[in-house]
């Protein structure tokens, strides 16, 4: 092992065969480098005499370039077998951070590109990456690394779990590109909800997701468009919910409008059974003395005499 100084223009820093960090926040690293310099130099191998290849430290190199540095120290290790180099690289990274799903995807992609077989990855690398040693999982990560950059960025930024990433796989590239600006503004749970609802509506109505997206855009266009993407994302989510659960949404709205119609007082809370699964309704109100209790009870009595109140009771038996 030896340390040398290498110009940042050296071809060692152009060969990306071991690079797997493409998406990361540069600002913190910039501050750190400005404060204390390069405490841990990047390391690599000497492929041929005088021909170096950077293995670990890509983020530091990218930021050092941004800072206008000309030269950095470079640690050269004596190893030539790619699989062993990967093992060292993964172990070193794992020692100081948790590898993200996107990191693992690029590691697998690069290993496959170097000719390391799926079988070798399954046996020697999967456990190191803490993923199930199955070819299907290797394919999953390979697929992830092939996604367009905007989608990968959202997966990394939102730390999306495997289930949601698989949902994204089910969409065509142009559909994902149409969805990403909205998904960026939603939480993980809402992203899952949107992707599932859209897919399920498409399957039920025998449409392509792109057609549903276009129909929503046309509708929004007629309403003079919403420039705020976060609000638009929320509207899109609501729109899908209505389309996905039309009967439930209609029932819920009918219930709400009936409460308005009979002037249900806001100080008395009324709740149907969850999802109207049972007939019972629950009312609750607060009172601090006898008079308040009498007052509320009298309000309820008046409400109970309203003819329309019957419509609140959901289930009806068939006529005999």
């Amino acid at each position: 092992m030896k340390t040398i100084n290498l110009s940042l223009n050296n071809p060692a820093f152009q060969d990306e065969r071991f690079r797997f960090s493409y998406i990361f926040a540069q600002d913190d690293l910039k501050t750190s480098l400005l404060l204390s310099g390069l405490i841990y130099p990047p390391w690599g191998i000497e492929e041929k005499k005088g021909k170096f290849i950077l293995v670990s430290g890509w983020k530091r190199v990218v930021v050092a370039r941004e800072l206008g540095w000309k030269e950095i120290p470079f640690l050269v290790i004596q190893e030539t077998k790619p699989e062993i180099i990967w093992v060292k690289l993964i172990a070193e990274n794992k020692a100081h951070r948790q590898l993200q799903m996107v990191d693992k995807a690029f590691i697998i992609k690069k290993m496959l590109k170097m000719g390391i077989s799926r079988e070798r990855i399954k046996k020697g690398i999967c456990s190191l990456l803490e993923i199930p040693p199955l070819v299907e999982w290797i394919s999953f990560y390979e697929h992830l690394a092939e996604l367009e950059r905007e989608t990968i960025k959202v997966i990394a930024a939102k730390n999306l779990p495997e289930y949601i990433v698989r949902l994204l796989f089910d969409y065509a590239q142009e559909e994902r590109q149409a969805l990403i600006p909205w998904l960026e503004h939603l939480s993980q749970n809402k992203i899952k909800e949107v992707l599932e609802n859209l897919q399920e509506i498409a399957l039920r109505d025998q449409l392509r997701p792109a057609q549903i997206i276009s129909a929503f855009r046309a509708l929004e266009g007629d309403r003079k468009g919403e420039k705020d993407l976060a609000r638009q994302a929320e509207k899109w989510r609501e729109h899908l919910k209505e389309k996905r659960f039309p009967c439930f949404q209609a029932t819920f709205l009918k219930f709400q409008s009936l409460l308005k119609e009979i002037n249900w007082p806001p100080e008395i809370e009324i709740k149907p059974s969850p999802f109207f699964e049972r007939n019972d309704l629950r009312v609750s109100f607060e009172f601090t003395n006898e008079n308040e209790l009498k007052h509320m009870a009298s309000k309820l009595l008046t409400l109970s005499q309203n003819k329309k109140i019957k419509q609140l009771f959901f289930g009806k038996s068939p006529k005999k």
């Binding site: 199955l134 089910d170 399957l203 659960f245 009967c247």
Partner: protein, 362 residues
Amino acid sequence: MNFIEKVFVVAEAYSYPLTQRILNQLQLKPQIVSGTEEVRQEIAGEEDIIKKGKKILVLDISKAKFIKPCPCTPVYLGCGYLVINADLNCPLDCSYCILQSYLDQPWLTVFVNQDQLAQEISYWGHKRKGYFRIGTGELGDSLALDPLTQRSRDLCQMFFSYPQAILELKTKTTSIDLILKQKCLPNVVIAWSLNAEEIAHREEKGAPPVKDRLLAAKEVVKKGYRVAFHFDPLIWYRNWEEGYGQVVEFLMANIPAEKVAWISLGALRFPPQLKAIIKKRFPNSLCLTQEFIRGLDGKYRIFRPLRVEMYRQVMNFFKASKRYQKVKFYLCMESAEVWNEVMGEKKRSERGICVFLSRPLN
């Protein structure tokens, strides 16, 4: 039974007569194992272990009780049914099948210690004086493995002495050869799970068309058996009324009402963990497109007004026939509210439903 690729016999189970009968039929060299852990290792690396499991047969002995009260589902109304867990899992591959998430052993298991099963049947036969319903179709199809196991014949023999026990053999198959060959017992009911033909074609992989099932039912009726039908799970799709209507029409045209022991209706429901499995194994399944809510038991269920609409409509199809108006209908795993909405207001209990369904019509 050429779908079976491998047979494992747990050493303890080897000497049982049923094991020998099955091995003679199969003509596959069995692998003798000390326990099912070795079977698990066999399929561990498979991408779709559920699919693979359907090609592996394990002959084992049951250390648990064979007969148990049907667990039904919490909060909703049960029907007092008893289940016989003699075979576990099913070679058919229905998208909505609960067994995909319910069983932790994905292979087909046949429990061969029928001596214990006979003892348990005797116990329940002596314990219950009134009529009661009991069946094998809970954790597997009652007849799918019958050509291999001849279990139906053994069960009929075991139930011969207990006429108050109504044995139901529930299937989606047309494996009725053995049923037709044996003497018909009045306390044996052969039942079919039915669906709209489009749903069966799309969601019930490996199962015969619904018309074929009904023609098999017709054969069984000719032999003298009573039959039952389960429209379960009812699945909402475009043209569902037409689809279910056609099946009911064909059923009524081929099966005399007086030979129908009961008909059940149940809308699609499943525990949340099954959704990911369906999505992975059957990405185009209509089960994923239902208007689901979370039921009182935590399971996904179709929103109540929609399931009530389906129940009422299917019942109306039957009510078009005067003869079918007398048939006993019941709802599987439904709330008292939904029973009332579909069948009319009445105070109902599990005991009442159990008695209503078990007692003979005449």
